[in-house]
Subunit: 289 residues, 4 copies
């Protein structure tokens, strides 16, 4: 044989699961999307068509629903239970990945008060928990957020950059800066991941707002990361992926008009992307998914 | 010639435009998407390739940006100005449609206070203004909302429906009901459309929440419409399109577990769709787009 | 009561259904998405929460699967059977709409020959059948296509259009023209809808290609419609919705380069939209969905 | 300072670029989407807001258009030129990534012959070229494909898998198997990447078709990879990501009907995902993006 099976893993994506928890007629609604992967001694599955080691991806789905019957205390705790169960159920697996996306809902306001059992999607991004575990190790559980859009109308400059013959971008000392924050972070053992799921994005976005001396998305990325590290002692590193969602000042001179930073075209593509990790001294960033 | 040109119209979709209004360092950010159509005496454009009557769709785009230089007082007022300008600029046009979608942003909270110039997308649906105007008539301006998701975990039944040989759905007296409200409404002349853009969806969603005796999405649609008509004297009719976003109770018996209305599968497709108009006595609903 | 129930209808969207038909080991794969609406005497469902007239949307889904057991001879024939069954099963319904989207698959080529039971999505748009029927009438069945992208690199001009103070578009006698054709057409009784589902788009796209004297998308829309009417005697009218997918000549002069119609930026938004119906003499266009 | 800048890179995504090459009135249309990333000595950009090392992402965009003026000989050749230019233009960069997605178009058929300058999107997936280069090294250029859907109606089994208490999936010896192939492959130096861009997916899909003894998606993944390695001596490894797009046999017994493998529900979510690399003896797989 000239072709060997190399790295491989398998699992299920897009498992959508919701639970209702009742305290009288005050309800709590939890809404999740779960992804699972297993890796291990699955070579014969590929090479020989031997399915005996395969815990089916349909069983992974069923496991999520069965475990949810005991309640979702928190996405991180659920990810731990799920990972543990999957390793028990699949002796051939040596590594498991679990990712849990939360759809955050907030109570609808009725007559000035939050309703007891009616909800709407909350503003802000989507919490993400990523767990990676070797069979004989402790799970590494990372917090995260996805899709947290934010925009500032001033306090952002971009100038004094490198010029070459293909550079036409005019420098500016006052522009709109907008991004959709995706972030993943590591924590010390025993950290309260549920509390950090709200607190870390809040810290990052507040720093985005107050970083009035921003020279670039990179500059603000570091400011956000540093604020997170300084504010939350449990966070050991944070990795950002920040698109630069361009708002382009429209040239109104053909219409005989000026445009003193008031009218902007909202662009879709292309868009800049800034990726970077800020790391607490003495720590290193783990790899996630 | 055996083939004549019938009904036609043309225009521009997807015009994305944002403005910043400054009051010291307290800024207001307005973010819109605009659609335009014109109809009229454009037969020769099609049949003969005679472009002389054509106000180009690129000019429609430019007109939006140029008019925005004077500020966006409100989406409805902007739609009126735009429609008027387009009829002036296009003598061949006899009818104009303008639709303005708003992207609502809210201030990011920093240290417990709303920030002066940093924003994130607000929860809730997207306001929509639809204007239709004949050259010699008054514009008909309709309010609307798009994409307002809402979900209740109780107070919703579906039973006693018609049975036939292909009916397998079990009746239930307690289910999750979820939808994403799209609505359009008409108003009396002089109504405050900007205030209604917030108030009408709030009334409809509050009624969704309190309609604890719901027998169906249809039943709640009418309750929502009636609440809007009764609460807002300026609203003459309201049309809803309400998908029924199914949350399906998972059968856990194969796993030896019960499921007392706690664990749900969130379905994507297929989905029910309920469309209906509630009309104030003595009025009729206009056609929109 | 001040608020009455006006126009309403209900149904199911997104019913995804596939069938396999076997002739030895040569298989035929049919892949559909179905939408259904019913209207009629459903006022009490809304106003009183009386579900007795409601054929549930889940039953609509089940009906599709049950009827498919007898085979999908053609999307149009299936739509007729489905509409008939739904009216029989729902005495309160007076009108039914059925829309069937086809996902076209073609055989994968293996060793130069089409494989007997392996398929990939075919190029070209998606056939659509739309049926509207009153209880006591004959069904009106319309053909259609959705998403048929096409692009020509020459033979398209746009010039001599109306100028106003907000017009900045330069006229051109040679540009890229691109669109994604959506079309719906009516036919005489007894027409072979299945044959026309392929033939009408082919005729329209061929005319798009050969219409070298195009002065605008409107001009080509009419040429396409006329070609369809002249080529297919069974087609009584055809309605197009044609986005103008802009390919913008990049200004390379800042880089010290010319650009003799060679390098283009592919734009997303905004985009033009041209809507128009071409009608055979003595006929009128029906309303579809 | 307690927080240091760790790994980082930046660039542009979504650069859409098309070119027309003319040979008389026979035209060639090339349509690309390009992604770029740079990494290197950009710490001060983040920490100090020093933009002097920054080649702006807008300049990356301009560079694509300027280089395209000399023609796109092939996506791989263009990626090489682009990477080389970007390293020259950015002395602080030590590593560059370039990814080029092709939108394949085919000629529209008119009167039985391919038209000279009119095109429609071709069936099949989208070719992808990924280049990674260290400043002082040779570029590693990988081929790939994205979005190549394929489906077989027989010749696929899934049985004899591991059972646990949450397993409810019935084993089957005859099912529909469907996937959307994403693949990346490495090659020996000097390989004809342009020829392989067509040939590798064709080999993989043909093997998908002929692998009638498939016991699982994993089993077919390996068969596809092995066929590629055996057929194309220049390919050193190939990595697949294969969703398992479930087609679920509908239970028609509630309707009093059997279902002898004829009527299927097409599912969206959840879906299985199988990832695996097949490696030629003596080689190892590179990391791509």
């Amino acid at each position: 044989m000239t072709a060997a099976m190399g790295d491989n893993r398998y699992g299920k994506s897009g498992i959508r699961l919701a639970t209702v928890q009742r305290d009288g007629d005050t309800h709590t609604f939890t809404d999740l999307e779960i992804e699972i992967r297993l890796a291990g001694d699955f070579g014969p599955v590929h090479v020989e068509g031997d399915n005996s080691p395969v815990l089916t991806t349909d069983t992974m789905r069923g496991t999520c629903y069965a475990l949810a019957r005991d309640g979702i205390d928190s996405p991180a705790a659920f990810a731990r239970r799920l990972a543990s169960r999957l390793l028990d159920a699949s002796p051939s697996a040596t590594r498991v990945w679990v990712r849990v996306f939360s759809f955050p809902w907030e109570r609808v306001e009725v007559d000035g008060a939050p309703h007891r059992h009616t909800f709407r999607p909350a503003a802000g991004g989507q919490p993400v928990v990523t767990l990676v575990r070797e069979r004989d190790g402790e799970p590494v559980v990372m917090g995260g957020v996805r899709g947290a859009r934010v925009l500032k109308t001033t306090g952002s400059a971009f100038s004094d950059f490198r010029l070459d013959e293909y550079t036409t971008l005019p420098p500016t000392r006052d522009r709109i800066m907008a991004t959709t924050m995706d972030a993943t972070w590591g924590t010390t053992a025993g950290a309260d991941l549920q509390a950090l799921a709200q607190a870390v994005p809040a810290t990052a976005l507040a720093r985005f707002a107050t970083h009035d001396e921003s020279e670039s998305v990179q500059h603000t990325l570091y400011a956000m990361g540093r604020a997170v590290i300084e504010t939350h002692p449990e966070v050991t590193w944070i990795r950002f992926v920040l698109p630069n969602e361009h708002h382009i000042l429209v040239d109104l001179t053909p219409y005989g008009l000026d445009n003193p930073n008031e009218v902007f075209l909202v662009g879709d593509r292309p868009f800049g992307v800034i990726e970077g990790t800020v790391v607490r001294d003495g720590h290193t960033a783990e790899v996630g998914w």
